[in-house]
């Protein structure tokens, strides 16, 4: 699939929601744990060698599942292949929980569901559609029907 690597690199330089040095192990059998600077920007997780400015890689965080892995780590897998896991090691349980929470909220789909939820709540309480002032109340992507399991 074609994509513009420069654009992705530029994105990796944007302010991060969360960034830290973590242990990371790829999904392939026999992968070893490596120290990586891991950076969450919008719905992408970038990972850098600790002394390099350009990322080694990126993970788009849509349709993924974040699972805790003992003792203080977590894994990311994608819906189409749950056996293929990216492992991360944190330095504490607290850091692990912080990352897991942030990653679960980092998908566009999660944001969309949040928007629909808040819109519905505000509408119920005030009788007004809060999206009207933004001129986006008619967009199909924000309708209540879009809320699925």
């Amino acid at each position: 699939m074609r994509y513009n690597e420069k654009e992705l690199q530029a994105l990796s330089r944007q302010p991060a929601e969360l960034a830290a040095e973590l242990g990371m192990r790829g999904p392939k059998k026999g992968s070893v744990l490596k120290r990586r600077l891991v950076k969450l920007v919008v719905n992408f997780l970038f990972y850098f060698r600790t002394d390099e400015a350009e990322p080694v890689g990126a993970l788009l965080l849509e349709r993924c599942r974040i699972t805790q892995e003992e003792p203080s780590g977590f894994s990311i897998c994608f819906m189409e292949d749950p056996e293929r896991k990216y492992h991360f090691e944190c330095c504490s349980e607290e850091q692990c929980q912080e990352w897991m929470g942030a990653l679960r909220r980092a998908s566009y789909e999660f944001m969309r569901r949040s928007l629909i939820f808040y819109r519905n709540e505000i509408q119920k309480m005030t009788g007004k559609d809060p999206l009207e002032q933004f001129g986006i109340s008619e967009e199909a992507r924000f309708q209540l029907g879009g809320l699925k399991a």
């Binding site: 699939m1 074609r2 994509y3 992705l8 993924c64 944001m111 519905n120 509408q123 992507r141």
Partner: protein
């Protein structure tokens, strides 16, 4: 629609977009297979349709099937294709109308030296306007701004204010002042409730101004982007006018 076809060989994780080969060194990895699945999964898309995509500065237009999902604009060889030809990640870009040989053309422009500008053309005026609107609001950043805005509004409403903070109304015909709250509640009760609400996004570490100040900054951003787009466009038109 997704099916055995997707189980094609796992793409090399180091494949670089042909659009812009790197100057040297290993290519950046990306979970392309997951992207392809995201592109073709059966949840409703945010926009789709045929667009003409200009291959490069002096290249011809190719007709592609475009699918907008979230902040990802995928394009396929045709409507029945199981895997996208490519993807444009819609963060940090502006969408503007352009004057081109092709009718109903518009551009997705990225900032930075030697950055790419994607020139696209729709098949009619309505489609072009629909795409420009959809793409200019597709970024994760934009969605996050709106969500934060609503989160604050809901908090204000729950805290006991009767109405959301006053805002500068857009220049639209005044809307009917909604049904009485009681009627809304009754209506809402009879509608099937959505599932358990998602947890509230956490408070940001940096403290933000609340209420009307935050709303003002959002409106200001809209104006700012509008001005930037207009300035860019007039500069572009002037440079085109020169021999």
């Amino acid at each position: 629609m997704p099916g055995p076809g997707i189980q094609a060989k796992i793409p090399c994780p180091c494949r670089v977009g042909k659009d812009d080969p790197g100057p040297g060194g290993a290519a950046m990895k990306l979970n392309e297979r997951s992207l392809a699945f995201y592109a073709t999964c059966d949840t409703p898309v945010d926009n789709s349709g045929f667009l003409y995509k200009k291959g490069g500065r002096h290249a011809a237009y190719h007709r592609r099937w475009f699918v907008l999902r979230g902040n990802m604009l995928f394009y396929f060889e045709d409507r029945a294709s199981r895997e996208p030809v490519g993807v444009i990640i819609l963060e940090g870009c502006t969408v503007e109308l352009v004057e081109a040989a092709e009718e109903f053309a518009f551009a997705v422009r990225f900032a930075g030296a030697r950055a790419r500008t994607y020139v696209l053309a729709a098949e009619n005026q309505a489609a072009m306007e629909g795409w420009v609107k959809a793409l200019s609001r597709a970024s994760f950043d934009y969605l996050r701004l709106v969500v934060r805005e609503l989160e604050q509004q809901l908090a204000a409403v729950r805290a006991g204010d009767c109405a959301p903070p006053p805002r500068r109304a857009p220049a639209l015909a005044p809307k009917e002042n909604g049904c009485a709250c009681a009627v809304w509640s009754a209506e809402a009760a009879s509608r099937p409730r959505p599932g358990p609400p998602p947890p509230l996004p956490p408070r940001r570490r940096v403290s933000e101004p609340n209420g009307p100040l935050h709303a003002a900054s959002f409106v200001r951003l809209h104006q700012q982007y509008g001005q930037e787009v207009r300035a860019l466009r007039s500069r572009w038109l002037r440079s085109r006018a020169q021999p």
